[in-house]
Amino acid sequence: MVCYIRVVNQYLALSIGLPGHGLHLAYDPLALLFLAILTPQIIATALGPDRKSVAYWLFVAGMVLAVLAAEAFPLLLGFELMSAASWLLVLRGDRKPATLYAGVAMFSGACILPALFLPPGGIAFTLILLGAGAKAGLAPLHAWLPRAHPAPSAGVSALMSGGMVKVALYILIRYGFIVMGGAAQPWWGTALIIAGAASVLIGSLRAMLEVELKTILACSTVEHVGLIAVGLGIALRAKALGDPSLAALALQGALLCAIAHGLFKPLLFLGAGAVKHATSTTSLDWLGGLIRGMPKLGGLMLAGCFGMAALPLGPGFAPEFLLLHAVINAANTGEIISRIGFTALLAILGLAAALALGAAVRIIGIGFLGRPRSLRAAAAEEADRPVLFGMGLLAVLCVPVALFPGMILLFLNPVINQLIPDAEQPPLGYAPAPLALLLLLAAGASYAILKRYGTKAEREVHAFNGGFGKPPAWLPFGDPITQATGTGFAEPVQRALGRAILGPKTIDPGELYVLDPLRRLNVQFTRAAERVRRATIRQRLAFVFMALVLFLAALGFVQGT
């Protein structure tokens, strides 16, 4: 086995194996960016108990190999390694979604494999979009994600949500912008935008309505993948239409979203794992008041939720800001239909932003604040130190993304130049550092005024609670059912919006229109196969005879013409 380094297309490449016949690895700015996105989450999750499992390391190796691959074969090898290893890990957690997950992984592999060897064009891009989109959880092929991602242990969930979907998007970017970049058509971008918008809407709505903490986070991943896809779609469309500055703006938003999501989502998943460890449940309806027993974990979860809600001064706001401006710019020119479409997209993004805030408030407000809803929640103890350390690492890395997004965008310049050669990067109109300064000033001023003019007197009393009396001594936290539950908190949204989009039974459209028909088809095929298997010897002979006759007839027909 020979290993040597050479320079290919200006970028360093590494070849393993016989000269000319080996695995070719290379790194260019795009690959480096995704490697940089993967590294912190790998470190943070490897601090947990998952590092003892071989499958975990195979999973990591698959992701890294897929990102560093210089050609189709190692890319596919890495992608399949990642899928297979993560399937093993999902299987270890829960058997039921593992089968579904394996099916989706095979589907995406089966779509990507031919696409890599087809000439650049519409068919190849559609296959890439289907394959990578299914793996990343883009609507309408997203229904598996909220089932499979919560199944394995917390670290693996974190890596699947934060890393694996990014690898799928990396393949989409690599093939959409670089390999097939010359043949790009505007409709590629439009397809990506529509799929992204549907994911954003369904993901954010389900994140607001679900009750299991990990499922909420997985649904929020669907939303963020949708946001990234919207950005990529606008960039692809603008590039094909010859508007490089809009393409650069949208791409900045998409890539920054990928970076930010790669930090706060693993953080939240690790936290959900710690909650499960401490209380043996992740259902919001059984949690409550966790911040008393686990203040450090609560603070870190608050930081993560701050990012997830895309609030200013959080890591999630700068990408949202860039994406919204990209959509506004895209609505500025073009055909009237596309402009109306972008207006609707803006409304969807606004709706999703508010839903994301609602979902984040729900995680903190129902899970960590308030009164405990079960004895286990009341007795929860602080999470283990390695988990806190991993989460702390991710939270610290969120700070530069949150406060100095302009600097991160400078690092993104080479990537954007690689994807859109003649782009000029627009300056960022959002300056969090002065805003943070103003916010600190305001908080300081209000603190000073309170100190100067207010009294410091405080008294702990029984809560007012609309005038109800103190609970009896045998209910130390009062009656748990007298506070809003996760389900109850989401009820107004479910009534006003959930019914309209998800139907009265809250079934994901991806499940209803994609998975259920497939399941029915599966049952029908199984029945047909069973009928063939149970056939009597006479029926089988007749079948063979019929096949022979048909074959001969066809042969004769072809010979005759």
Partner: protein, 321 residues
């Protein structure tokens, strides 16, 4: 150099006025409402007295509150205060003008709202949770409608900041258009919701089941309640200033031109008073809606926002060809 100095002075006057006058505006609205209903009403300065009294009262901390109980009022007040620094009042060209991107503004409103919702969930009693859930529902439509409105403004003014939009609308001979009419109607609906006024919410309500904003503050008292009340007052003056800076920008001063300041100040004061009386008259004339009628009301706002941009597209298409 001189311009920068003038901008700083204008900003300082802006800070003094907007933070100083916020409770007065609430006082005017309450007084006007009472007079329209045939009552005498509290004096104009009553909100100041209420705040001063709350500051001096012992804060009662519920026994089920967590460590974060005291942090939420600070976040709500600071985020609202930063918004107040960004919205132009009597003059354009404040030193905070470059920061006043409309989307940042929406984000800051969302931050304040998120902290208030968490304050409602903090102690874990039913009314706070119900209020927070309703606020979450309303915010869906207000954010979507506001973003679509931003699109209309940016398309007309070619500037994403509130300052730039207002300056363009003042100087750019925009004229009356159907599109801006729809935008104004949508903006008013959003403003009524964001400031928690009738028909969406009743700031003077005493029935817990019908409250939204007040329900989240039920467990707060003393100086912490004063912070929330002051933030609510700030929110009202911000929204009146914002709407007048965008839709009625005539007479607003330039920070670089010191001679235009007095006119700007007087006109801003007049606009605030007109806004307060209009709000009072509207509140007296309408009844509060049921909670589940509000999404329909806000859905209309969203639709009007979308229509305003669609009309704009059609107009540019017709104008262009």
């Amino acid at each position: 150099m001189l311009h920068a100095l003038l901008a700083i002075i204008a900003t300082l006057i802006h800070i003094a006025l907007i933070f100083g006058l916020a409770p007065l505006l609430i006082g005017i609205v309450t007084k006007a409402r009472a007079r329209l209903l045939g009552r005498t009403g509290p004096p104009f300065l009553q909100p100041y007295r209420d705040l001063a009294k709350l500051l001096r009262k012992t804060a009662l901390i519920p026994d089920t509150a967590t460590q974060f109980y005291k942090i939420w009022p600070f976040i709500t007040l600071s985020a609202t205060a930063v918004t107040a620094l960004l919205v132009p009042s009597f003059s354009f060209g404040l030193i905070t003008a470059p920061l006043s991107d409309f989307i940042t503004l929406i984000g800051l409103f969302a931050t304040a709202r998120g902290a208030t919702m968490l304050a409602g969930l903090e102690t874990g009693f039913g009314f706070g949770g119900a209020g927070a859930a309703r606020d979450a529902l309303f915010s869906l439509f207000t954010e979507a409608a506001l973003l679509v409105l931003v699109l209309t403004f940016v398309l007309i003014a070619h500037s994403p900041t509130v300052d730039g939009i207002g300056t363009q609308f003042r100087d750019g001979h925009i004229g009356l258009s159907v599109s801006l009419g729809f935008a104004l109607a949508a903006m008013l609906c959003v403003a009524l919701t964001e400031t928690g006024r009738i028909p969406v919410d009743n700031p003077a309500g005493h029935l817990e089941l019908g409250m939204v904003h007040e329900a989240m503050l039920l467990e707060y008292s003393g100086r912490y309640l004063a912070m929330f009340h002051y933030a609510a007052a700030l929110r009202l003056i911000i929204w009146v200033s914002l709407i007048s800076a965008i839709f009625l920008p005539f007479g607003l001063a330039n920070s670089a031109d010191i001679l235009s300041w007095p006119g700007g100040l007087i006109l801003w004061g007049l606009k605030l008073i007109i806004g307060a009386f209009a709000l009072a008259a509207f509140e007296v004339a309408t009844a509060k809606m049921r909670v589940f009628r509000v999404p329909e009301f806000l859905g209309v706002a969203l639709l009007l926002g979308i229509l305003s941009s669609v009309f704009l597209f059609v107009a540019t298409k017709l104008g262009g060809s």
